[in-house]
Symmetry: C2
Subunit: 270 residues, 2 copies
């Protein structure tokens, strides 16, 4: 029995469960638990593509950089992921990853895995001084079904569907039910940010992420140390223009470790 | 005669000149004018890959997102670029681009081109209030040969090779000789930022960019309007850890237009 069919598994593990079909080729199934309006939540698609790379028997080291472009909506049902190890050297690997349905490529990613080395280091980004998650009330789910029910958002700053003076948001976010953090889950959390346009405009506007980029600043140990606690997510847009906006975000561990920085580009209707 | 062999052409145009070898396959030649320590300046490699996509007869719209991972050093001599239009719809195109020498892939990129639409917009990033380029003295070239001679840097903030309290830099940067801005040149300028580690440590440390990501926030008209003036570049690191650091940067036009936001991940030795 795979995680996809194991009713005792966490919904996230069921959603990203993959079956090896051939070397470098994996089959998965979209999940109703992580469904968005017309296709799966982009974060869970990203997580499945990350997981395919992590599951590859030749993978060495941990994720360092991951960029995913969404080409077209994924439909409910089976999908295939192809992982290509384009180049490897002693300390790093370069991957190309594509997700398709009926041989139509719907998402493409490039990624780097690397062995982390103990070096001089310095975190220059400042973690905002916010109350701990336990002192911030969970926001009521914005929808009765779909992926928003799979995350708990404790909003510290940034009221959605309002004309805020800026698009800065700070929120504690956790899987529902709680689940120990790993790279696929962190990848999905990097797409859990509220679309920035909802922080600048009061009315709903159709949107869709077209590109997401993640740099992982901490290794496996930091994720294990973090466990199943909420992560602190901070993001702000730079520009809304010509039908696309961006954001730049940080994901912090409860112990103050900068886990990831991320940016994305989002299409909007008008 | 192609730009590569035209002595009257701008060195940048010679460096990114490509000859069509087959549909979706282009040949280029590395340029001594843009040579870095052991391989070409990453920005000119990125620009050549951008140009291959732009030159493709099926390309529609202008660059929106461009992510390039550097896999291994490029050697002096001929290189091939392959451009694949992975998916196109009415308003956008998704590309995969690879650069190789002797069939070894040395750089891979994914990119999006899109038709820009007139929509509600807002620039949230703030252009720093700095003196105009004409009032900032050009920095003396850091090297007697190579790509650093092909750019003029007028540093406003951020003294290199010093232990600054943060890695923030602000600099006016221009092609030498001046050259009207276009997407390949802007792509290269997005890699012209001083490596952040040189703003936090006084001594030289070996470094190499492994990934660069660019979002283009303005279209062709804004670039034409900008012309050959210097661009204002602003960047800051978020973290230096485990042998890699990042930065997040902005490129502004003289008229205050946000041309691009960019981030990159850089390997460092110790």
């Amino acid at each position: 029995m795979t995680a996809a069919s194991d009713p005792a598994a966490h919904p996230f593990d069921r959603a990203v469960a993959l079956a090896a079909a051939a070397p470098g080729r994996w089959l998965g199934l979209t999940s109703e638990d992580y469904w968005n309006m017309v296709s799966p939540f982009g974060g869970v698609t990203a997580a499945a593509m990350m997981k395919a790379m992590l599951d590859h028997p030749e993978r060495r080291g941990s994720p360092l950089s991951f960029t995913l472009n969404f080409l077209a909506p994924i439909e409910a049902g089976e999908f295939a992921i192809e992982t290509e190890l384009v180049r490897a050297n002693r300390s790093s690997q370069h991957w190309a990853i594509r997700l398709s349905q009926q041989d139509r490529v719907l998402a493409q990613a490039i990624a780097i895995c690397a062995l982390r080395r103990d070096t001089w280091g310095l975190v220059e980004a400042a973690r905002p001084d916010v109350p701990p998650a336990g002192r911030c009330p969970p926001a009521p789910p914005r929808k009765a079904s779909g992926f928003l029910q799979r995350y708990e958002f404790r909003i510290v700053h940034g009221k959605p569907f309002a004309e805020n003076p800026d698009s800065l948001s700070q929120a504690w976010v956790a899987d529902v039910p709680p689940r120990p953090l790993d790279f696929p889950a962190l990848t999905a959390l990097c797409d859990s940010f509220l679309p920035r346009i909802f922080l600048r405009r009061a009315e709903f506007v159709p949107i869709g992420t077209v590109s997401i980029n993640i740099y992982f600043h901490a290794g496996e140990e930091a994720l294990v140390r973090h466990g199943a606690a909420p992560v602190l997510t901070v993001a702000q847009a730079q520009a809304f223009s010509d039908g696309h906006f961006d954001h730049h975000g940080h994901v912090w561990s409860t112990d103050g470790t900068l886990l990831a920085t991320t940016q994305q580009l989002v299409w909007y209707k008008e």
